[in-house]
């Protein structure tokens, strides 16, 4: 509305100033233009416009720069009246940690705009924004996101960190290539007798793993679209880009695995986010938009998250790279004494084994007398006492957004929202931000709970370590060895793929490239086709507005759950002889406790400080001057305090209460 008026205003003034016209061009809002996904420059402009349109409510700051010098924007939404911003409980919304997840950026920006626009006219929004703060970081991985606007769209999720994925001493030397010039990187299938895969008889657009036990004959191998640029036998094994920011955080960090960085928090984007969180300890909840989920499928009562849902076609084509990082391991020949040939091998290995046992025993022996501290292990599942809060929020999320099922879901390893709960200690959520309105059949992902994903050909292979990934032109025997690995996947194979196709067909989404022939320089005749990048993790742009509104409501609902700590009662009574009794009650009138169970274990959230502002010597009995309350339960949980004090009638005594996530309160009482 505001925007439209401005445009008209400039329109009336007419042509005249070119500068003004340019200014007006940037002034357009997504509401007016054709809905679309915004690149970095457009999104920056959009955020800057919001900040200047609502100077009382919105503040735009940068919390760091990426390798390619893009700013990491944070938009602060807070009413000008009310408590100082740093003392208000805050909600942090972060999106686009995985570079290809663009819908989260759009929802975040649009929901910010929605809240700002409606602040003046909607009393609920006004009340929330005056009491709380919402921080929005719509694009955490802008260097990666920009790949959407590249001439050929790939599946890149990673930032601009140069990483030698196959560790061969050459960086980014063999990425995907758009061979058929259709603007997207898809999959190549190659007919090869004895190959592990076959065309899915029920859905001929899809591929499945052949099961020799059922008499199925494999006749295809699969690769990502590209060539063997460095002639090492692999296709697309070292693409540009390095780190997926949602695999670079500190909980359940996937060390030395794909897209996770050289160590935890190695990336500038990760550190910018961590520093922001640590500088804003008032952040009481975290909502991330990303490819993992704990909202649509809330955690089980055991505290475990739902199973991932992977796209088999991609997993199967990536199996061609399983060996890429292993070329050049000469295991048999290593060892202190070199290797003995032929029949001496047995002798040599025995000798080395004995040597090794002896030396290990010698090392261990010295430990016997040392004192060992009891080991504290990091939590891997949510604390029992916290799960219900998450499940309740999940139920409301489904209600408010109508999303009952996600099409895909990535296993969270090193994900921000997991850090948010397990280490930062707050209610912390992740959702793809969109999905299907109908719930999954039989309570799990379609076609059997998680079997597809856990034992899918790609992952199973890596986990077991026995899978001999299919190297281009390698001996066919290697592929046969992989046969057994895919067994468990049979029942659920293609479940995710099929559902995606059904959804695309139904919604008339152009998300799948039909297989077409192509003459490949390394492989000869191939067919190129399969899912289009971005289409599987982002809905059509037309849906952004609706999603933004429902998520804005959800974000505001989250703030209504924040702990709210107040001094509910403070009274003083004279006992005679200069002695007084002070009684106080501190209440949490919010829904969430001041500190989750796990946050207590993890010492992640400070106890609530209840401090009587007197000299400690004047307290004769009762509570201490300073009291740390580990937790105040929500929904009216109270903590009671009593002091016997030496003082003077008429003296004013102040009580101060500080809760990291539930606000600050002060009250005074006069000694009677």
């Amino acid at each position: 509305m505001f925007m439209i008026r401005n445009k008209q205003y400039f329109g009336w003034k007419a042509a005249g100033a070119v500068v003004l016209t340019l200014f007006a061009l940037g002034w357009t809002t997504p509401a007016q233009e054709e809905p679309k996904y915004h690149n970095y420059a457009e999104m920056t402009r959009l955020l800057q416009n919001l900040a200047s349109a609502y100077p009382q409510l919105a503040k735009l700051e940068t919390i760091g720069k990426t390798i390619e010098k893009r700013d990491l924007w944070v938009l602060q939404l807070a009413g000008a009246t009310g408590a100082p911003v740093s003392e208000r409980p805050a909600l942090l919304i972060a999106a686009n940690l995985e570079g290809d997840h663009l819908i989260g950026s759009e929802i975040s920006c649009s929901l910010a705009e929605y809240i700002l626009k409606n602040y003046a006219g909607n009393p609920t929004i006004k009340q929330k924004l005056d009491r709380y703060v919402i921080y929005v970081i719509p694009r955490v991985n802008p260097d990666a996101a920009e790949a959407y606007w590249a001439p050929a769209r790939s599946w890149r999720r990673t930032n601009a960190q140069p990483v030698d994925e196959d560790n061969d001493g050459r960086i980014d030397e063999n990425g995907p290539e758009d061979l058929n010039k259709d603007g997207v990187i898809t999959v190549m299938r190659v007919k090869e007798p004895g190959g592990p895969y076959m065309v899915d008889p029920e859905e001929p657009r899809l591929m499945k793993k052949a099961d020799p036990k059922k008499g199925e004959k494999g006749e295809y191998t699969l690769y990502r679209e590209g060539v063997d640029r460095d002639q090492d036998g692999f296709i697309g094994e070292d693409p540009p880009g390095g780190v997926n920011i949602n695999r670079n955080f500190l909980h359940d960090y996937p060390s030395y695995k794909a897209e996770s960085g050289r160590h935890m928090a190695s990336e500038t984007e990760t550190r910018a986010l961590l520093d922001f969180l640590l500088a804003h300890r008032n952040i009481a909840a975290l909502l991330t938009f990303g490819e993992s989920d704990n909202l649509v499928s809330a955690p089980a009562a055991t505290g475990r998250l739902g199973t991932p849902k992977k796209i088999d076609l991609l997993e199967m084509s990536d199996a061609s790279l399983a060996e890429a990082g292993k070329v050049g391991i000469f295991t048999a020949a290593t060892g202190r004494f070199g290797r003995f040939g032929g029949g001496e091998m047995f002798f040599s290995e025995e000798m080395m084994r004995e040597f090794s046992q002896r030396s290990q025993a010698a090392t261990a022996a010295s430990s016997a007398t040392r004192f060992q501290r009891p080991a504290v292990n990091p939590a891997t599942v949510m604390a029992a006492g916290d799960v219900e809060y998450f499940r309740a929020v999940g139920a409301r999320y489904a209600e408010m957004t109508g999303i009952r099922q996600t099409l895909t879901a990535v296993k969270p390893e090193g994900a921000l929202f997991q850090y948010g709960y397990f280490q930062y200690g707050i209610p912390s959520f992740s959702t793809p931000g969109w999905g299907l309105a109908e719930a999954a059949r039989s309570g799990g992902p379609p076609a059997g709970p998680g079997a597809a994903t856990e034992s899918g050909p790609g992952t199973g292979a890596v986990r077991s370590g026995t899978f001999a990934g299919r190297r281009m032109g390698g001996p066919p025997g290697a592929a046969a060895a992989a046969g057994a690995e895919g067994q468990a996947a049979e029942s659920a194979a293609q479940a995710v793929d099929r559902q995606l196709l059904q959804w695309m067909d139904k919604e008339k989404i152009d998300g799948f490239v039909p297989w077409t022939r192509f003459q490949h320089p390394d492989l000869g005749e191939v067919e190129i086709g399969g899912f289009k990048p971005y289409a599987v993790v982002n809905p059509p742009a037309a849906r952004i507005a609706d999603l933004a509104k429902s998520h804005a409501d959800f974000a505001l609902y989250l703030t209504s759950l924040f702990p709210a700590v107040k001094i509910a009662k403070l009274e003083a009574a004279a006992l005679g002889g200069g002695l007084f009794r002070i009684k106080a009650e501190v209440e949490n009138s919010g829904v969430w406790p001041t500190c989750l169970d796990h946050a207590q274990t993890a010492r992640a959230v400070k106890p609530t400080l209840v401090q009587l502002q007197v000299e400690p010597e004047s307290i004769l009995s009762g509570h201490e001057k300073s009291n740390s309350v580990p937790v105040l339960a929500g929904s009216g949980g109270r903590s009671r305090f009593e002091w016997l004090l030496q003082g003077k009638a008429g003296q004013s005594i102040e009580l101060k209460v500080v809760s990291q996530k539930g606000g600050t309160d002060k009250r005074s009482v006069l000694l009677p």
Binding site: A265, G338, G341, K606
Partner: protein, 604 residues
């Protein structure tokens, strides 16, 4: 840098004050002429004290003097700034005549990550000094300096070092980022106070005749001991010297910092509730970040030593049992080096951190070993076994009545060898909150974890010797014998011996597992030369008898073979090529941590 310069003058002038006065000149050269030392053994170029503890300025000033004396070999750079804004200095020792830094394996030495563990800084200084003074004089040293590169950071925690030497408190282990230890939403607001201004935070006791629960100990009256049940004592203890700075009713409850700088490294890092003092995320501390960035930028580093104190240990990882023992091949290498280390360093024991000391998550040497593939030790410098070292005295210490038994020995040593300088006896003091008390009963900060000054030079030398031994055993690839056999038209069989005569492999097994070190590269260059096949032979003699024992190298590009598992220590292997072509050919084995070796030859 001007601050450094300023400092070196007063030191020199104290030593030669009389001389200066006589000459009446202020311009005394940085490097002293050696005229008076002609027959001293050995003649030295730069005189540095190793029986004193250097504060940060003097440490850096000495390094600068060394650098000015040997500008060709020594380079200093600031690799970062501490939280308190102090420079973190890295010294590079490299002989440019024998190759660029990156082409030679490097030994990286760091010290003093814990502010109070200062003597590693003196070892670093001693190492630089010793290598330079003896270059050209001692053959082994000359060779080592020619073959290797050294990166030496004498204090990675200059704030902590300065605070330890300057201040009164013994709480210098931490870095200086303020943390709220007592959950009152204020950081570092109630630190210990040196109320009597004697430079030490002491204990406080109060004399309450017949009503106390402590009494002077029978071992030594300067020590306090709890009174047994049913008896009466004359004292109560009031904790560490200090007052209630923040008026919350507690004394000294929120001290400086409150974390452990050596739990902030990224490998196996765990949050605070699992690993106390680890900070909020790995490499959050500017000191750790400076070190990590430097290490990543120098992939030629093949050896790492982080000097700590105390206890007399040669430690290796893993820091936590959950990390799993190192691969057997790596264990053998560590064992060989450390067992010799135990011989170089009497009273030091070789231990694995988690099993021999305690569990450490996020320590620096787990990071350097696991994430960088650098063979790493951490020496815990000095233990009190070294007060009385002879077998006879060790025997005597078993006698309960011996004045050198147990804690009595500490007092004996203090009284007879340190002339009473290290222990503060009780003295009365008027405390603003507690009335008349006594302060004392405290060892000075230099006692215990740090050797007596007069014993430091030996500590420096022995630890340096172990680290130089490690540096010498870093991998070094060499080319050996070659045989060329013509098989037919432009086809030849070439067999070339390649060896690594050192103990350490070019790539640790753990590094190969984690895929963190660039594989070694075996390349063939020659105009129009084609590699038909390649393989490894472990014993040429055996291969002559049994030709089948060649391990075929199954890689697509045989002109650029990846050797991801590296080259074992003390091993010679033969690479076999079937080459097509003729003329000049070169075979190169290139290793990031073991250097590069080239063999040139002609194909018939």
């Amino acid at each position: 840098m001007s601050a450094l310069k300023k400092y070196s003058y007063p030191i020199a002038s104290i030593r030669t004050a009389a001389c200066l006065l006589f000459l009446g000149t202020a311009l005394f050269p940085m490097v002293r002429p050696l005229r008076a030392q002609q027959f001293s053994d050995p003649p030295i170029k730069v005189k540095i004290d190793f029986n004193r503890w250097h504060d940060v300025n003097e440490l850096y000033a000495d390094i600068r003097r060394l650098q000015q004396a040997w500008p060709k070999f020594l380079k200093t750079e600031v690799i970062g700034k501490s939280f308190g804004g102090r420079e973190i200095l890295m010294v590079t020792i490299n002989n440019p005549d024998t190759g660029a830094e990156g082409s030679k394996a490097a030994m990286c030495i760091e010290a003093n990550v814990h502010g109070n563990e200062i003597q590693g800084g003196e070892i670093c200084l001693y190492t630089i000094w010793y290598l330079m003074e003896n270059y050209g004089r001692i053959e082994q040293i000359t060779r080592l300096v020619n073959e290797r590169v050294f990166y030496i950071c004498p204090t990675i925690n200059p704030d902590g070092r300065q605070y330890f030497l300057e201040g009164a408190a013994g709480d210098a282990r931490s870095g200086h980022v303020p943390l709220d230890d007592d959950n009152d939403y204020q950081a570092d607001e109630d630190r210990p106070d040196d109320m009597n201004g004697n430079g030490v935070v002491e204990q406080m006791r109060k004399n309450v005749p017949g009503k106390g629960n402590f009494r002077p100990s029978s071992l030594d009256p300067r020590l306090m001991e709890p009174v047994p049940a049913g008896e009466k004592g004359d004292y109560i203890l009031l904790g560490r010297e200090g007052i209630d700075n923040d008026h919350d009713g507690q004394v000294d409850e929120d001290s400086l910092g409150g974390y452990d700088p050596n739990r902030n490294y990224p490998t196996g890092w765990q949050p605070n509730y699992v690993q106390r003092g680890s900070m909020d995320y790995p490499a959050q501390l500017p000191e750790a970040r400076a070190s990590i960035d430097f290490l990543f930028a120098h992939p030629n580093i093949a050896g790492f030593q982080s000097y700590h104190n105390s206890g007399g240990m040669i430690l290796r990882g893993p820091g936590a049992e959950s990390a799993g023992e190192y691969p057997a091949g790596d264990v053998r290498v560590y064992d060989e080096l450390a067992r010799n280390g135990e011989r170089i360093l009497p009273f030091y024991r070789y231990l694995v951190i988690w099993s021999g000391l305690y569990t450490v998550y996020g320590g620096s040497i787990d990071f350097t070993n696991d994430c960088l593939g650098i063979l790493s030790f951490s020496n815990e410098l000095w233990n009190e076994e070294q007060y009385f070292t002879s077998p006879a005295l060790k025997e005597q210490q078993k006698d309960p009545n011996s004045p050198i038994r147990g804690r009595k020995g500490d007092f004996f040593f203090n009284d007879r060898l340190e002339f009473g300088s290290q222990y503060l006896d009780w003295k009365p003091f008027s405390h603003p909150q507690f009335g008349t008390v006594e302060l004392g009963g405290t060892w000075r900060k230099l006692q215990g974890r740090i050797p007596p000054r007069f014993m430091n030079e030996e500590l420096c030398h022995r630890n340096m010797a172990f680290t130089l031994y490690q540096a010498d055993e870093m991998p070094m690839i060499q080319m050996g014998e070659i045989s060329i056999e013509k098989l037919g038209d432009h086809v030849s069989q070439v067999q070339l011996d390649i060896s690594n005569p050192k103990v350490v492999p070019t790539i640790l097994a753990k590094a190969a597992q984690n895929n963190v070190v660039r594989p070694d590269l075996l390349t063939v260059e020659g105009k129009d030369v084609e590699v038909l096949a390649a393989g490894w032979i472990d014993n040429r003699e055996l291969q002559k008898v049994k030709p089948a024992v060649v391990a075929r190298i199954d890689q697509k590009n045989l002109k650029r073979i990846l050797v991801r598992s590296g080259f074992s220590g003390k091993t010679t292997r033969t690479v076999q090529y079937f080459l097509k072509g003729s003329g000049e050919v070169s075979i190169t084995y290139s290793s990031l941590k073991g250097g590069t070796a080239i063999k040139n030859f002609r194909l018939p």
